[in-house]
């Protein structure tokens, strides 16, 4: 069973967020990057669990320039067998999906896992697009996956409960919390990652359909106004005249 896991680069959760180029680009200066946690903790680790249970190979794929190599090496240290980097800027989700779909088709992957979204752009589109492009069913935001032979049983949280689905054959799935537990690379993994293959390939076709007009930070939190507990009248007046909510 060969599994393809899509990984992307996200700023560390403690990074300061700022923009450059007139608000059209994320300012990477001084930012530490990590493997997008949904990709790493859930998609990649689930793929490793499947491999450990039934054999096969886990390939991680990432679209981006050489600055993605550290997160790819980390994925190899966590346990992926090999890695592919499509050497192109990850301009939009469709472009990235096209690159990954092309690679998956060419190399006959029919189980493809992604995280449910990236923690920087929160698009959540990639899995669905890949599924469409490779012609496989798609399950979004799955929290559990069991594989017996060709039969996959997949669970996902829905409003007020959960949904259990079965798929016979290949599929694309985006993984959410619950799918697996984070694995911290150990020294054996880090040493093994030194000699695992990281193949850099050129982009194959594909185009971007969207471009960023600008990014904006959320408005700064307004100052908190304290009103004496004795003074309910003033509170009501302010809610009416200033906050305009009553």
């Amino acid at each position: 069973m060969n599994i393809l896991v899509c990984i992307s680069k996200s700023p560390d959760t403690t990074s300061k967020i700022a923009f450059t180029d007139g608000g059209t680009k994320f300012d990477e200066n001084g930012v530490q990057f990590i493997v997008n946690p949904y990709d790493e903790w859930y998609a990649l680790v689930k793929a490793l669990e499947l491999k450990e249970a039934i054999g096969g190979k886990v390939t991680v794929i990432s679209v981006g320039d050489a600055s993605n190599d550290p997160i790819i090496r980390k994925s190899l240290a966590v346990g992926a067998d090999e890695a592919v980097r499509v050497d192109a800027a990850d301009t939009d989700a469709l472009f990235v999906a096209q690159q990954i779909a092309n690679y998956a088709k060419e190399h006959d992957y029919n189980i493809i896992l992604t995280g449910k979204e990236t923690i920087n752009y929160n698009g959540g589109q990639l899995g669905g697009m890949i599924a469409e492009l490779v012609g496989l069913p798609y399950v979004a935001m799955a929290t559990k996956l069991d594989l017996v032979g060709d039969l996959a049983t997949i669970e996902r949280e829905i409003q007020g409960g959960s949904e259990v689905l079965e798929i016979n054959g290949g599929f694309v799935l985006s993984a959410a919390k619950g799918m697996a537990e984070q694995r911290i690379p150990n020294m054996r993994g880090i040493m093994a990652a030194r000699s695992k293959p990281l193949n850099v390939i050129p982009p194959s076709g594909g185009e971007s359909h969207t471009s960023v007009v600008n990014y904006e930070l959320p408005p700064a939190k307004a100052q908190c106004k304290y009103i004496d507990a004795e003074n309910a009248g003033e509170l009501i007046a302010l809610l009416h005249s200033e906050a305009k909510v009553i």
Binding site: Q32, D69, R73, I184, M187, I190, M191, A193
Partner: protein, 392 residues
Amino acid sequence: MRTDQYTGHDYYNMDDLLTDEHKLVRDSARAWIKKEVSPIIEDAFEKGSFPKHLIPGLGEIGAFGPYIPEQYGGPGLDQISYGLLMQELERCDSGLRSTSSVQSSLVMYPIWKYGNEEQRMKYLPKLATGEFVGCFGLTEPDHGSDPGGMTTNFKDKGDHYLLNGAKMWISNSPFADIAVVWAKNEAGRIHGLIVERGMEGFTTPTTHGKWSLRASDTGELVFDNVKVPKANLLPNKSGLGAPLGCLDSARYGIAWGAIGAALDCYDSALRYSKERIQFGRPIAGFQLQQKKLAEMITEITKAQMLTLRLGQLKNEDKATSGQISMAKRNNVDMAIKIAREARQMHGGMGITNEYPIMRHMMNLESVITYEGTHDIHLLITGLDITGENAFK
């Protein structure tokens, strides 16, 4: 204890000078420590015993003999990775780092450098995983800063050596499987011997009542006519230079470790001062508190640069004992001062084990004493720059 919210501080973008593997080693160690050690370290410190269940995990993150070549079961990392691992360990607790320092630089290093192939193959792979834990016996009750005066000795009895004497203040001794012991032969020359637990006449009483390094076990090594097989003598180096070579390696790791302790104190003080409101504003807004914080990060940054350069020299095998002494002395002193200032910034809360500060502060009293006291390192630098020996 509260959840471990530590994040690293890198004011001069020193990370740009590290390789991806350096960062992977460091960040993986940090993640493991936060998951496995931070939740239990206060308890271990309070109980006064080393949490032995962590030993296999320490082996897995590469904390035992990071630079030992792969052929002997080590990870074959460079000296900067070794330093970063020690920094992460001591960021959590100096005792945790001590256990790893001893295993790496004082037990594995001499077996690797001064041992023969048979000894390397017999001990190093098991020490790397933590299946064996080792200790290092140099200090004696009457010979601390002056180890050359040691009286522990061994006599050649034909098919074995007969070892007599006692060592004191030995980290890991109470549970160690093996001890690298420094003793004089009949001609008064210092040699290293590997003594194994279970050899008749060899005991390891625990030292009680420590106010420092409580999460590390310390004890004595007592040799009462211990028969040591001749195959257990480290053949490739003798004289005081042999144990001092080990100390150079360990002191280098301590220089990094101390930065870790300082970073943890600074990190906690910075966060606390932004959250703690007095006189209607965060205490971080007061000039007196800012002076403390600004001076802390300045001193940490200086130490980081000094130590990274030392690591580069170590990688090229060019670091001198004098340079290592300077870094150990400077960094431990820096850390202990930061711990004291950080403690004050936490007010009363800094007294409790809700915060790691007092633990670091107490631990660092050992760190500033062992592996050459603060004053002894000053004398080493003094001797190095003047050529005048002020020891005796």
